[in-house]
């Protein structure tokens, strides 16, 4: 799958490597910004209030 994506990127090798790195970085940013905060509601670390609205 990743090999297929890499082969279908346009341009010479160095450009494809650069594009792949940029893609990887943007996926990372999206995960930190949106995916991980959403996932954290399923963990138990962040519940420190009494009678809290948030479920563990």
């Amino acid at each position: 799958m990743y090999g297929w994506i890499f082969r279908h990127l346009p341009g010479p090798l160095w450009l494809r490597i650069a594009t792949a790195l940029v893609l990887l970085a943007s996926v990372l940013v999206l995960m930190v910004q949106y995916l991980f905060p959403w996932m954290s509601q399923f963990t138990q670390f962040t519940d420190s209030t009494i009678g809290s609205a948030r479920q563990p």
């Binding site: 990743y2 138990q44 962040t46 209030t49 009494i50 948030r54």
Partner: protein
């Protein structure tokens, strides 16, 4: 990492069968899922602390700068702690998300300086530090000044709450002055025990005569099945014009001046 499988050269008659292809894609997806989970753990346990620490330092700095603004020459002269300044000044409860003050807890380290912010919503607790339970007293008032903070992740502001020893001083600095609390005891309760926030903690019938500081956090350290509650009592206060208590003068100067 991404192109390991590429060595297959010119594909013999349209490459491998559909089965081995789907097995490969499934494998790559599973590896991806594993990596995402590992990254998530790193983010949750480490990166949220980095982010929150930075944000909280900014909040402390902003608050300190606002204090300096009215031309307050306070920070120079550590006050004589034996003086009695009478009934503590009590500020009004600010809007949600506004900074109430700074808390200094020497037991947690010589540079333990965290903001106290109004509200206990995730938006406050996850980035801004300790959250004040709305509706509970303000610092210095007769009653219960109750705050919550994370034990782990997002700054881990109360990670060492179990290390507090009876007699430990806890200093709260607000616009009005410095409130010195003395830690008395802690208690581990179930998350539903709202009565720890009462004006006299856990005693619905009593009417308060003293000023309490109640801090709540997760228990055990990496779980949330219980809450650990730390109770402190107001020992004395001094107005901002009298300067910070001598014991934390260096800490205050660092928090205010550090830039």
């Amino acid at each position: 990492m991404l192109q390991v499988k590429e060595v297959s050269g010119p594909a013999p008659a349209r490459g491998p069968g559909i089965l081995s292809r789907s097995v490969q894609v499934a494998g790559e997806l599973l590896i991806t899922a594993g990596l995402i989970l590992l990254l998530f753990v790193a983010w949750q346990l480490w990166w949220t602390n980095v982010e929150s620490d930075t944000r909280q330092r900014e909040v402390v700095k902003e608050f300190a700068e606002n204090l300096k603004a009215p031309g307050d020459p306070a920070a120079q002269s550590p006050a004589d702690s034996s003086l009695d300044y009478g009934t503590p000044a009590v500020g009004a409860e600010p809007a949600d998300g506004a900074t109430i003050g700074i808390i200094y807890i020497p037991r947690f380290g010589a540079d333990y300086t965290r903001p106290i912010v109004q509200g206990t919503t995730p938006a406050v607790l996850d980035t801004l530090g300790l959250g004040h339970y709305p509706g509970t007293s303000m610092p210095g008032a007769v009653g219960n000044f109750a705050v919550a903070g994370h034990r782990q992740t997002h700054g881990a502001v109360l990670d060492n709450i179990d290390a507090l020893t009876p007699g430990d001083r806890i200093y709260v600095q607000t616009r009005d002055g410095y409130y010195v609390y003395v830690f008395r005891n802690s208690q581990i309760v179930l998350p539903s025990r709202r009565d720890v926030l009462l004006p006299v903690p856990t005693q619905p019938a009593a009417s308060p005569k003293e000023s309490y500081l109640t801090m709540t956090s997760c228990n055990p350290r990496f779980g949330s099945q219980e809450r650990i509650i730390a109770y402190s009592l107001l020992e004395r206060w001094q107005p901002a014009s009298a300067g910070p208590p001598a014991e934390i003068a260096a800490q205050v100067a660092r928090a205010v001046g550090e830039g």
